[in-house]
């Protein structure tokens, strides 16, 4: 019991250290960026300031202090929830983000869940009919789909399903004035979701398939077969649980890719989420916003990694106590 608490504390410390390190990198990069930092605080008026006013403003904002000191102050403010102003929106960063967070959570969340289900399903189908026509067909098309650049695929979807056949809307999260309508929101979600799913699902399905095909060669499968169990039952009841821990950590490691993919798709569909915001902030050199968004995304991913480990231990207690650090010294 004592050891478990120790493990938990250690793991928490690693999470915190990782996020801190990430924030140091992000902070240094944003401060080394060219451009006038005063603009980030005062907008275009900063260009009209006289030399004395500039000096005073720089002093007041502490921009003349050495970087570590500035970082310390930023961290202190960040801990209190003050993350600065967005240059483009002229609003506190948190306000800009929280307005769009819901949309992104909806898109990323639903695509992640569906992706997990879909890739597991496809993987099982392929493993069940290994080397059959279905398997080969899915494998071939899978290579092509996994090479599709998300943004181009989204454009194709728009071209096909909203320009040539006007079935789905090409942008936005809901029609104007219909923000409360669930059906309308789902209608807007279809194309972005399809773009994310189709360009990602295959890769993970392929990994599931390979794992399952390996598993099916094991001796216990032969025994189960001899007992007279059906092929499907063996695959689902005996092989799948063995594959699952690897699959979960795989899906969590996939999270950054899926996030990155969703961000691109959001930008193409001008879906008002964090992804579209991130590209906008990079294009307009809105460093404060970009910094917070990057940090936020990174933190989500780091937290997810830890979650995967905990889940794996639940499923397979043998992996407990083996943490990633140890495996470096193999």
């Amino acid at each position: 019991m004592n050891q478990r608490i120790f493990q938990l504390i250690k793991r928490l410390l690693i999470v915190i250290a990782s996020i801190l390190l990430l924030s140091v990198i992000v902070f240094t990069m944003s401060r080394l960026a060219p451009g006038d930092p005063l603009i980030a605080y005062y907008g275009e008026q900063a260009e009209k300031l006289s030399v004395e006013e500039r000096e005073w403003a720089m002093e007041r904002l502490g921009l003349n202090d050495p970087l570590p000191q500035q970082y310390g102050r930023w961290l202190k403010q960040a801990a209190q929830g003050e993350l600065g102003l967005s240059y483009k929106y002229k609003q506190p960063v948190m306000q800009v983000i929280s307005a769009r967070m819901g949309n992104s959570v909806l898109l990323v969340g639903s695509s992640f869940v569906l992706l997990c289900v879909l890739s597991l399903l496809l993987g099982c189908i392929c493993a069940c009919y290994e080397d059959s026509l279905i398997d080969k067909l899915l494998r071939r098309s899978g290579i092509v789909f996994s090479c599709l650049p998300e943004f181009w695929f989204s454009l194709l979807l728009i071209l096909l399903f909203s320009v040539l056949l006007p079935l789905f809307p090409s942008s936005g999260a809901h029609c104007i004035g219909r923000a409360d309508s669930i059906a309308d929101r789902l209608h807007h979600l279809v194309l972005p979701l399809a773009a994310v799913l189709i360009s990602h699902a295959w890769y993970y399905a392929y990994l599931v398939r390979n794992k399952l095909c390996e598993e099916v060669r094991a001796e216990y499968v032969l025994l189960a077969k001899a007992k007279g169990l059906s092929r499907l039952r063996i695959l689902l009841w005996h092989c799948l649980p063995n594959v699952l821990p690897g699959y979960i950590s795989l899906m969590v490691l996939a999270l950054p890719h899926i996030l990155g993919g969703t961000y691109v798709v959001e930008a193409v569909f001008s879906y008002p989420g964090l992804g579209a915001l991130i590209y906008e902030s990079a294009r307009y050199h809105d460093y404060n916003l970009l910094m917070v968004l990057s940090l936020f995304t990174g933190a989500v991913v780091i937290a997810a990694n830890m979650l995967a480990q905990a889940l794996n231990e639940r499923i397979d207690p043998r992996t407990a106590g083996i943490n990633t650090e140890v495996s470096y010294y193999d």
Binding site: V144, P149, I158, R231, I302, N305, E325
Partner: protein
Amino acid sequence: MTDPRFELVGAKPQAEAAPQKMRRHRPPYSTAVLLALIVLPCLLAEVVMTRDPAYMDLAHCLVAPCREFIFGTDSLGRDIFSMIWYGGRISLTVGFLATVIATALAMIIGSLSALAPRWLDALLMHITDILLSVPSLLLVLFLQAFFRQNSVFTLSIVLGITGWMGMSRVVRTEVLQLRGCEYMEAARLMGGSFFYLLRRHLAPNFIPSLMFMAVMQFRSAVMAEATLSFIGLGLPLEVVSWGSMLSLAQQALLTASWWVVVIPGAFLLVTLVCVTNIGNHLRKVHSHGERNL
């Protein structure tokens, strides 16, 4: 074993499995030919082009594919057929340069990490892990925001310094296995410097298993170039590349001029699929590359 119900599960007969293995390792000739059909005209763009890819023929904007403009023209009146080859060269150059930079960084950081004292090793690998956990496009975006004016060179550097992490893991694992070899110790005792060891003893050993990763890095660099240019954070519109050609695609959707959207993307996709096939072949040949991830 003749019962058909045993075909799916259980061990396969040796005789049946063996020829299949041979077939799988056949080099992908058709893919190579297809790739050459795209890459060679790109390299010899000046010969293949029918007109100046940068010339804006404003009298012929958004012309559908016809005899004069084989692939049509974009909204600025540029000939897409010429742009494909000329832009392809730039896209492939970015991919190639980025891969070279990333591979060099991965080789240095990976072997440094494996040969360094434990604390430095742990630190380097933790940093690698953290960088690996951030969506790579985000890192690129972050670096990209600092360059006011993008050129082929700056974009390659950015894509290079954000793409080394996965490869450096592989290098590190390989070097850890080589570290204890007698020839390594001998070379070190004779005072061989880090770069000498890397060049003479380490690199020749791990390069085969790194090839697959490098090819995949090329693929993702080409894809990242297209994505960034499309969004307006990569190459500007004047620098013709597959990505910057597609940055006009969103406008083209409004006028339903499909050729602006479909043609550059199709070339991009075919190239990426070919590269992936070659990468998969390399992975099968040196199959322990993936295990060391």
